[in-house]
């Protein structure tokens, strides 16, 4: 087996490859992310950024209390985020638990949202603590139910104990299940990997194993999508593209709650990976509350005065 002609998938080839990656200096990465956070995005560029961010939102509900009703409401919001303004784009996807995929797909199709894909969190999300058979079945179920995107979690325990081969194999197997039917997003849970060196290593493991997207977090662990973590992942997809000519997407998820945060993410993308990544095809933001703040900021720009939450829908 050969993956991009870079590794053969064996433990030793992975260890060797990961060991030669340059380290990440935490303070330097933090400083770069903080500097980019000072970019001031105003007027026309802000308007463009808000609409772009809306189109990148993976509108998410991942609660034990999720019901069909809740998911349907979210679908409506995903297709037409602002019912009073048809110029607002649909979001990037709906992201739900496995058993909600069919409900979401059916409802989206019914309300004119065929273009909005459903993403399912799979492989024993969020902990990933299940047998490989269960994880494969979980993924298969989601795809059969109509999921076009699979958000899988890696085995953080295996990663942290240095069993890179194990982590890699799981991704390869889920990749096989996805085949051509679903995009594969690989979630690292960066809050558990802790160091940026680990984030970089996990990024390469996932990309080499066939991920279409690399994703920061489940949303269940803090810290999640901090700007420096996203910076390190963007550097990884940029450099991977240089190596392989294959463009991998990035999805920060968790902790991005307002327009300011979202715009910071877009600036990170623009100045790290480059403008080629500034499309929902290669950049998504996993969020729920964010969408309403984007809508309120959009209203403010249109109306010239500050908006009230009373004028955006709460679904």
């Amino acid at each position: 087996m050969s993956f991009y002609g870079i590794v053969d998938g064996s433990e030793s080839s992975l260890k060797h490859f990961l060991a030669q990656l340059p380290g990440v200096d935490q303070v330097g990465a933090d400083a770069r992310a903080a500097m980019l956070a000072t970019r001031s995005i105003k007027t026309s560029s802000k308007r463009w950024a808000i609409d772009t961010a809306i189109s990148m939102v993976d509108l998410t509900t991942l609660e034990g209390a999720d019901t069909a009703g809740k998911v349907r409401a979210l679908c409506s919001k995903a297709v037409r985020p602002d019912p009073t303004d048809s110029t607002v784009p649909s979001v990037g996807a709906i992201c739900v638990y496995n058993d909600m995929v069919a409900i979401a797909r059916t409802h989206l199709d019914a309300i004119g949202g065929k273009h909005v894909p459903v993403a399912a969190v799979s492989t024993a999300f969020p902990s990933g603590r299940a047998s490989m058979e269960v994880k494969i079945q979980d993924t298969q179920d989601a795809i059969d139910a109509g999921a076009a995107e699979i958000d899988m979690v890696i085995d953080r325990g295996a990663f942290l104990s240095g069993q890179y081969g194990l982590v890699f194999d799981e991704i390869v197997k889920i990749r096989e299940v996805c085949g051509d039917r679903a995009h594969l997003k690989v979630i690292f849970e960066t809050g558990e990997l802790v160091t940026y060196d680990n984030v970089r290593k996990a990024s390469y493991l996932a990309m080499l194993a066939g991920a279409d997207f690399i994703k920061t977090s489940t949303g269940k662990v803090a810290p999640a999508a901090t700007p420096p973590v996203v910076l390190v992942m963007l550097e990884a997809v940029r450099d991977f593209y240089q190596m392989t000519q294959r463009r991998i997407g990035v999805k920060p998820a968790g902790g991005i709650r307002n327009t300011k945060d979202a715009i910071k993410q877009l600036v990170l993308v623009n100045e790290t990976a480059g403008p080629e990544w500034l499309t929902p095809e290669y950049f998504r933001i996993g969020a729920s509350a964010l969408l309403n703040d984007l809508l309120m900021q959009r209203m403010k720009m249109d109306d010239g005065y500050y908006a009230s939450p009373n004028y955006v829908t709460i679904d």
Binding site: D25, Q26, V27, G28, D30, V194, T195
Partner: protein, 290 residues
């Protein structure tokens, strides 16, 4: 020496004293001045004393080459090691205390008591400076609490090659050399006039000590001739001009400005600032992260 002259007058079979030939001390060896020159040291009581070498600018040039070559090795020696080497020199000075005192009497005509006191004072100071080698970072270093995730510290380092021009006395020579070399500098001492006599005995001590060749080089002769060359030498980093006449210091400082030489003079007070004057503070930053 002085005593031999007195006793010899009573003895019919007078033993002819074996006298020392005075040379320079460069790179651990005792060469004559390349110029072939000497100068006469006399004493009002005894007349002729010796013909020390009259060092030339080319001797200075050679001494700087030796000092520069020896510098990084000397600075790299552990502070403990430098301290022990200097302390060992003090032990040897103690053993030769009478000889130094006699030579000071002979060369400068001071009373034996005064000469003896001067030698003992020199030994005390040498021991005092020797003990500083491994305390300099504590006294002149710092860890600095900067606002940010950085470890930041300041350490003193030797400047490099230092010339010293002490006044015409053994104590002044010791006072100039000890603080300059203890930190890891290498030194060229410009010893004037009659101080050459004790200085060259001191060189004999150095030659049999563990001090690496080139760390301390001793040129005897004239400040007027050598100091301007030392001041303008671009490979000398610092210059102690304590023994230079106040009126002649300005021109040395002007010459030294060409490489921004650190030029200092001291009033003879014993102080660790005399060590630090020929050191540089280096500050290092490094991020703290995982």
């Amino acid at each position: 020496m002085a005593t031999s002259k007195k006793s010899s007058s009573n003895k019919p079979a007078r033993r002819l004293e074996v006298k020392k030939t005075y040379k320079l001390y460069i790179n651990g060896a005792f060469p004559r001045s390349e110029s072939g020159r000497v100068y006469e040291v006399t004493n009002s009581k005894n007349g002729f004393v010796a013909n020390p070498s009259l060092a030339s600018r080319k001797d200075l040039r050679d001494a700087v080459v030796a000092a520069r070559a020896a510098q990084s090795g000397w600075a790299k020696a552990t502070a403990y090691n430098r301290g022990q080497i200097l302390y060992r020199i003090a032990e040897m000075l103690e053993g030769r205390a009478d000889q130094f005192a006699n030579e000071i009497v002979l060369a400068s005509g001071v009373t034996p008591k005064k000469a003896h006191d001067e030698v003992l004072a020199a030994i005390e100071r040498w021991v005092w400076y020797a003990g500083w080698s491994d305390k300099l970072s504590a006294a002149f270093g710092a860890t600095n609490p900067v606002s940010g995730p950085y470890y930041n510290f300041t350490i003193p380092e030797p400047q490099g090659v230092i010339a010293v021009a002490p006044a015409e006395s053994f104590l002044a020579l010791i006072d100039a050399i000890a603080p300059a070399i203890i930190s890891g500098n290498t030194v060229i001492a410009l010893v004037p006039g009659s101080a050459a006599i004790a200085a060259m005995t001191f060189a004999e001590v150095l030659a049999t000590s563990d001090l690496p060749a080139g760390v301390l080089n001793i040129l005897t002769g004239s400040h007027d001739e050598l100091a301007p060359w030392a001041a303008s030498h671009m490979d000398i980093d610092g210059f102690d001009i304590s023994g230079i006449d106040k009126k002649k210091r300005a021109e040395l400082k002007v010459a030294g400005a060409e490489n921004l030489k650190r030029i200092h003079s001291f009033d003879g007070a014993v102080s660790p600032t005399r060590i630090f004057a020929f050191m540089e503070a280096k500050t290092v930053w490094h991020p703290i992260g995982v």
